[in-house]
Subunit: 231 residues, 2 copies
Amino acid sequence: MMTMSLFEKIAQDLSNKIIKGDYSSGSVLPNEGELQKTYGASRTTIRKAIDILVTNKQVTRRKGVGLFVAPEISTQNILEMTGIMKPDSLSQGKQIFKEHYLRKAGNYYSQILNIKTDELIYYINFIQFNSASITKETLILPLKNFPELSLSSLKILTVLEMMNLGKEKVVDLEQELQLIVADKENAKQLNVRENDPIFKIVNRALNAKGLPIALELRYENALQTKYVVDF
Amino acid sequence: MMTMSLFEKIAQDLSNKIIKGDYSSGSVLPNEGELQKTYGASRTTIRKAIDILVTNKQVTRRKGVGLFVAPEISTQNILEMTGIMKPDSLSQGKQIFKEHYLRKAGNYYSQILNIKTDELIYYINFIQFNSASITKETLILPLKNFPELSLSSLKILTVLEMMNLGKEKVVDLEQELQLIVADKENAKQLNVRENDPIFKIVNRALNAKGLPIALELRYENALQTKYVVDF
DNA sequence: CGGAATTTGTTCGTATGTATA
DNA sequence: GTATACATACGAACAAATTCC
């Protein structure tokens, strides 16, 4: 029987603990210093052990922050990602009101929102910084549905609250979650490289008759986010 | 003919590449990890190869930083060290305006500057941080030569430009380059240990008559600087 | 907003055990 | 037996990102 080297044994042990659920999914692992004490090993050895787990996608590292269990994607996670539910830690993020303007719907949005191509829409861009990731949100609101919208008040509202400001109430939400690769613009705004995987989430807010009254686009770095899937 | 061992062959190959100029003088060599991949050898072997080059003074090592080609000292280097010429990479350094005050010349400076002991001089200290090293500059300007000096504007000026602000133009520069050991004060400011070797550069700015009108002292860590000489 | 503290990232320094020619 | 080569392991120094106060 081959004797395992120390760093392999530590990797094995940590892997078991993660599988057993000793460290809650999506939350922190002890930092390297703690692990050194726990296993009585040097930092080099600890890091080699974690290298294995990172390769196996069981653990993710974030410089200046710490080590994290890489969780599977779940219903809970999807709800948080799509903005239906916000985890406490995420709601602390700094939101920056990037830009907003009125424009004509054009072919693309007129189809989705079921309006004429020359109808006016509010086009609003947010960038949300969390400790974990950057999210870009684009909110598209047809002017006719939101005639009294005060753009200066947008900053403090969640997207859902905003949608409910309109003339018609949002009673349903159609959602679409896609894994796409970043184009040049997304790469810059989300601080990732081109062709890195990113999540695109489309929320269509519907009224009681099932007609669309608002559209929300969200982009989120798929690698840095805590929602990890296999690529 | 003896067959060379692997580490000797690697040393030979690296040496050739340095001589050929594949790695620019004073800049980085691939790190040990890269060299392991390049030569398909273990770290021990790579280190033995580099040991040879270090003994031959072709390479210097800096813990936590990397491997460097050890350049000879040259006219170019001396010009850069003395501040006559600034290499592009060095000019990016952060300069901190440490302290400045008016004081009497005293015996020491009165002799060098050919003024009376109780004449007033500006005494100005800079600390310059580069990624490679820390340089301390002391500038001594007799008040009578620089009556309209605005100390708040000093930060954005190079020492040479500053000297040319005075009543009398600098037409010549006497320079002296010494290798000394750090005293307590220098050790602290340059972030070296006491008795570490440091360069001391004295620049005497002279007017048309050959009389000194300003004095500049520069101290630089001789070990961390890219100008490498034998100790 | 700036500086100190924390944490991971990177790299060299050193030592030891093992296999092999 | 000795020199060579590889893998492992512990340290230290420096760098960069982030968080905290």
